[in-house]
């Protein structure tokens, strides 16, 4: 099913260009080509396929953000980079779950990727802070904020969805919510 012709490994520069251009096909090819490698790593080191999925997607996000921020320099094969990032992430997760026996069964060559991970770790923290702040925000604020800032819904739509009498009321509500979200966000450690 996944072995279509266009799943042949994209070249590394194709991937970088594709990410910069938001190419869906390149992202898909990239994803499909390297997933098995990561799946193999994770399930053979006491993980499940869901763990593999999480780890792999995180690694793709690392790559994606790095490319988007213009920091990415192709100093090794992309494959090695992805594998190394996944390996690093998985070791961290294993350690977190106290399941790491000090020994990992490797399938690919890998590089130290510590410095690449700093930015990601930072972003990851911000992301989970935002996620939990939104949870704490509660309804209807959470949905209003998400609709407006994430799903790009117009104030008019939001107004109708929540039954506000006019857009101004909705706007006031939105700013109140945003204010609370900021507060929640910056209060979190």
């Amino acid at each position: 099913m996944s072995k279509q012709t266009n799943t042949a490994a994209p070249t590394d520069s194709e991937v970088i260009l594709g990410i910069l251009n938001n190419s869906e096909t390149v992202l898909k090819r990239l994803y499909i080509v390297y997933f098995p490698m990561v799946l193999q790593l994770v399930i053979n080191n006491s993980g499940t396929q869901d763990d593999a999925k999480d780890i792999y997607q995180e690694a793709i996000i690392v790559l994606y953000n790095k490319v988007k921020s213009g920091e990415f320099e192709l100093s090794s094969k992309l494959k090695t980079f992805i594998y190394s990032v996944c390996r690093r992430l998985w070791l961290k997760k294993l350690a977190h779950m106290n399941r790491y026996g000090g020994d990992i069964h490797d399938f690919q060559e890998h590089l130290p990727v510590e410095e690449n991970m700093d930015l990601h770790t930072d972003r990851d923290i911000q992301f989970s802070k935002m996620e939990s702040s939104l949870q704490l925000l509660g309804e209807p604020c959470k949905t209003i904020i998400e609709d407006f800032y994430i799903y790009d819904r117009s104030m008019q739509e939001i107004c109708e969805k929540f039954g506000y009498t006019n857009a101004d009321n909705a706007k006031t509500q939105k700013y109140k919510c945003l204010q609370r979200l900021k507060k929640l966000f910056f209060q979190q450690k």
């Binding site: 193999q40 053979n44 996000i61 911000q126 994430i150």
Partner: protein
């Protein structure tokens, strides 16, 4: 006075809140580039003049950036999830796990069954060990026996007695004698009443010794010399009723005998009449390679100890002394050579009469029955009282 202050603070707070929403909206519009040129210019001026406003704009910008990042990540995750759903992960997992670690799979899927099986196996092994242990306990006799036999090689008297001496313990009621009487066999060395038997038959703690011939006549005897090292004891009949024997029909073979030679013995394993047994020489060495003895395949029994071992020509080749309890038919006989050595070692002053070994064989060529008929008058039952 304090009321006024509170009032002022309160109204200022309200004002700030009112401003807050408007200000946030303005900032948002400013950052999103939604302001007209004029409005933008005045807002920028307002920002420059007011450091507080400037920091609020920066803060909002930062937060908007975070929101954007959050949004991008959520969008990317959605895209990735969509791609992921197209992958047949199960097939991949199968492909990767089946062959690298089927044992692990087996264990994961069946560990409870395997555990039960292992428990059963352990139980079975323990059970088997229990039974085997039971047999081992019986076999330990074998082990002890062996040890005893080894100790026997050391030739300490008590151990020899323990082992397999061919002497009988006389049942007490039959003899009306004190317990611990032993019997063995002995045979004449010379016509004047010297008799040889095994040292272990008499031991070193006896009260009196008697010898009894085939006719049932008993004679008192005394110990002349013993050599525990070779298990040889020499007695002398010291009884008035004893008359010298006719000259001995057999001789003592000094050289070594060969494997397979037919041999026989006469002894008193049972009752008061001599018992005949035959066999062959099965090894030139005795128990555990003991060179003092021959190994003889003959059915010797307790009571046979000290009896003569003759070859078919009527030469004495040894003194029957013991048998192996484990191997059927394995008996041992002291070689004549050591008997002769012992005779040589007898101190002259303990000899009341001369000890002359006969050198004339009158048995050669006779049939076995004839040989035995002549022999049996020279074979005695040795009775030990203590």
């Amino acid at each position: 006075m304090p009321a006024t202050v509170e009032e002022i603070v309160f109204s200022a707070e309200i004002k700030r809140r009112m401003d807050n929403n408007q200000l946030t909206e303005a900032i948002e519009r400013y950052l999103n580039d939604e302001m007209s040129g004029e409005e933008r210019a005045s807002f920028e001026q307002y920002r420059k003049a007011n450091a507080d406003i400037d920091s609020r704009i920066t803060e909002h910008q930062h937060f908007a950036g975070l929101l954007k990042q959050y949004r991008e990540r959520i969008e990317l995750e959605e895209r990735l999830n969509a791609i992921h759903n197209e992958i047949d992960v199960h097939a991949l997992v199968e492909e990767m796990t089946v062959h690298p670690s089927w044992i692990v799979q087996l264990w994961r899927n069946h560990h409870s069954k395997i555990s039960v099986a292992a428990s059963v196996a352990i139980f079975a092994v323990l059970t088997t060990m229990f039974f085997a242990g039971y047999f081992n306990n019986r076999n330990q006799e074998h082990y002890t026996e062996l040890r005893r036999q080894i100790e026997n090689v050391k030739r300490t008297t008590e151990q020899r007695i323990n082992q397999s001496q061919l002497q009988t313990v006389v049942p007490q009621p039959r003899r009306h004698l004190n317990p611990g009487n032993y019997r063995g066999t002995g045979f004449a060395l010379s016509a004047n009443g010297y008799i040889v038997t095994n040292y272990h038959v008499i031991g070193d703690r006896f009260d009196s010794l008697y010898v009894q011939n085939a006719a049932g006549e008993s004679f008192y005897a005394k110990l002349v010399y013993s050599e525990p090292q070779y298990d040889v004891a020499i007695l002398k009949i010291d009884d008035e009723s004893f008359k010298n024997l006719p000259s001995l029909p057999y001789t003592f073979k000094k050289g070594r005998s060969d494997l397979g030679e037919n041999v026989y013995t006469l002894g008193y394993p049972e009752g008061d009449s001599p018992v005949f047994d035959k066999g062959y020489l099965s090894s030139v060495n005795g128990y555990e390679g003991d060179s003092v003895e021959y190994r003889v395949n003959i059915s010797a029994n307790p009571g046979n100890s000290g009896g003569p071992l003759l070859n078919s020509n009527g030469n004495i080749i040894g003194i029957v002394s013991g048998k192996q309890t484990l191997a059927v038919g394995a008996s041992y006989a002291i070689k004549t050579k050591y008997l002769l050595k012992a005779i040589q070692n007898v101190p002259l002053d303990s000899l009341s009469d001369k000890l002359n070994l006969s050198n004339k064989n009158m048995l050669t060529g006779l049939s076995r029955v004839q040989q035995i008929k002549k022999m049996q008058n020279y074979v005695f039952q040795v009775k030990v009282y203590n």
